[in-house]
């Protein structure tokens, strides 16, 4: 099965599969979601250069703190969890721009909304693709940023785990704000104003879990709370994002 990147190609694929399938109602939705995921990943790899930007921003923000505070690793280690999470939060805000922009611009998003497929599932797929392209690399880069702030290598697995769960939640929550500000130009500050308050619990639990991981203690408790937030986001955020997309496209 070849994946065509054009809206027409995916639209045709969506409708033919939907009408042919007589299985459970969710099957065509899942298939459409998988197609969307594959499409988004393919398209993103064609513009590989853009994927670097949020990561570069993350590294840059991390670098600001030694310059602004102190080069002493002991002092940096103390603030490392906060720095990592603030930088990750800001980088994920920046990356949200890529989530809907191209599809809204060329009308694909409208096709999704009109296709009769579950918009919730399609947007969930898009968000998963977005996380694979921005959140996951961020989570994998975080240990390097942490070590530059004096964190020992023993904390790396814990940091990656916490960051993975946290960035999943951030991507999903961010999708809501991105959908609400779909049609607006220069919506960066507004997007931040909408997304950050709702992301605060993720920040609180994620930073605490990271802090414990860096100290070598057990970070299960905040990680569980973080995971609960991620599960909540997985179940509710795509619904809200789909409603927001429909509102923005009216």
């Amino acid at each position: 099965m070849s994946i065509t990147g054009t809206p027409a190609g995916v639209g045709a694929a969506l409708t033919t599969r939907a009408s042919c399938d007589e299985a459970a109602p969710s099957a065509p939705a899942l298939r459409a979601a998988r197609l969307t995921l594959a499409r988004d990943l393919t398209l993103a790899f064609r513009k590989r250069g853009q994927l670097i930007q949020p990561l570069a921003f993350f590294a840059l923000v991390t670098m600001l703190f030694p310059l602004a505070v102190s080069p002493e690793l002991a002092r940096l280690r103390a603030v490392a969890p906060g720095v990592l999470w603030v930088a990750a939060l800001l980088a994920s805000l920046l990356a949200l721009e890529f989530l809907f922009r191209d599809d809204a611009y060329d009308g694909t998003l409208e096709q999704y909304a009109l296709s009769g497929q579950s918009l919730t599932w399609l947007l969930f797929a898009k968000t998963v693709a977005h996380w694979l392209l921005t959140g996951l690399p961020l989570a994998l880069m975080a240990p390097f940023a942490a070590m530059s702030l004096g964190v020992s290598a023993a904390a790396v697995p814990g940091i990656i785990l916490v960051m993975i769960v946290g960035t999943i939640a951030l991507s999903l929550i961010g999708a809501i704000g991105a959908a609400l500000t779909l049609g607006m130009k220069r919506s960066g500050a507004l997007l931040a104003l909408l997304t950050l308050p709702i992301s605060l619990p993720v920040l609180i639990y994620g930073a605490r879990a990271t802090e414990l991981a860096i100290a070598g203690s057990s970070f299960i408790a905040p990680l569980e709370l973080l995971a609960a937030l991620a599960v909540l986001a997985v179940t509710l955020a795509p619904l809200a994002a789909a409603a927001a997309v429909r509102i923005s496209l009216e």
Binding site: L180, S187, L190, L193, P197, I198, P201, A244, E250
Partner: protein, 248 residues
């Protein structure tokens, strides 16, 4: 018979009906509100005995707690109105939600300022990152986000629905955010943090507070009714009933 019980609800959805009702109701809430607020403030300043620990300083509670209560109550009202507007597609519900936002934001600012003024003599600093003040600050951003999002749309209907979705998402998140702020704060409990929590107050101290809570709530209702009328006039500008009402 069950259908009859809902007619009042659907009648409220009619802009001319709500406009007329708001105009009639306003004095009935405004004057009691004024009486309760003046009476409550007097009772709080003069009648209530000074606190054993905080002396006269505790009297700020009579303006801080009602402000904080309002900031939260107005947000919930806004969220419920937004949900009603989304579910039943009622334009007037969106008008109510839009009217709530500036009122709630102003009380949030009052809560922050009075909280800071209470904190300085008690804790020694103008600001503390305690759960109550931090939550109020986050609430302020929630209000600003709602107003900012609405302002970004030219089309009223899209502004209504987008803002309503945000308000509902925000309302669902408020308990989550509040709990996580309490959790965060408990990790780093400074030993001298003053507890704003529920003090066991003698009746003479509590009574003015309850009076003021009721007075502020009625005040909100009165201001809301006025703002809703303005919103309806603006939204329904082309409607014929406006001409008839204004000429009457």
């Amino acid at each position: 018979m069950a259908a009859m019980r809902w007619t009042w609800f659907h009648r409220l959805a009619s802009p001319p009906y709500l406009y007329a009702l708001a105009a009639r109701l306003t004095p009935w809430v405004a004057w009691p509100a004024a009486l309760l607020i003046v009476g409550g403030l007097y009772a709080g300043l003069v009648l209530a005995p000074p606190d054993y620990q905080q002396g006269e300083g505790f009297r700020i509670i009579y303006v801080h707690v009602p402000s904080a209560w309002m900031s939260l109550m107005v947000y919930v009202t806004m969220g419920v109105a937004a949900a009603v507007g989304l579910i039943w597609r009622m334009k007037v519900a969106h008008a109510v939600a839009a009217s709530c936002a500036p009122i709630g934001a102003s009380f949030t600012v009052a809560a922050l300022v009075t909280g800071s003024l209470w904190g300085k003599p008690m804790w020694g600093t103008w600001w503390e990152w305690d759960p109550r003040l931090t939550s109020e600050l986050i609430l302020l951003f929630l209000y600003l986000g709602f107003m900012g999002l609405r302002a970004g749309f030219d089309d009223t209907q899209r502004a209504d629905r987008a803002g309503a979705l945000l308000a509902v998402v925000g309302m669902v998140n408020v308990p989550i955010i509040h709990y996580s702020v309490i959790w965060w704060n408990s990790l780093h409990q400074a030993p001298s943090v003053m507890r704003f929590g529920k003090p066991t107050m003698p009746a003479a101290m509590l009574a003015p507070l309850l009076v003021l809570l009721l007075g502020f709530s009625l005040f909100f209702a009165a201001v809301l009714l006025v703002r809703v009328r303005a919103e309806i006039l603006q939204r329904e500008r082309a409607a014929r009933w406006i001409g008839e009402t204004l000429r009457a």
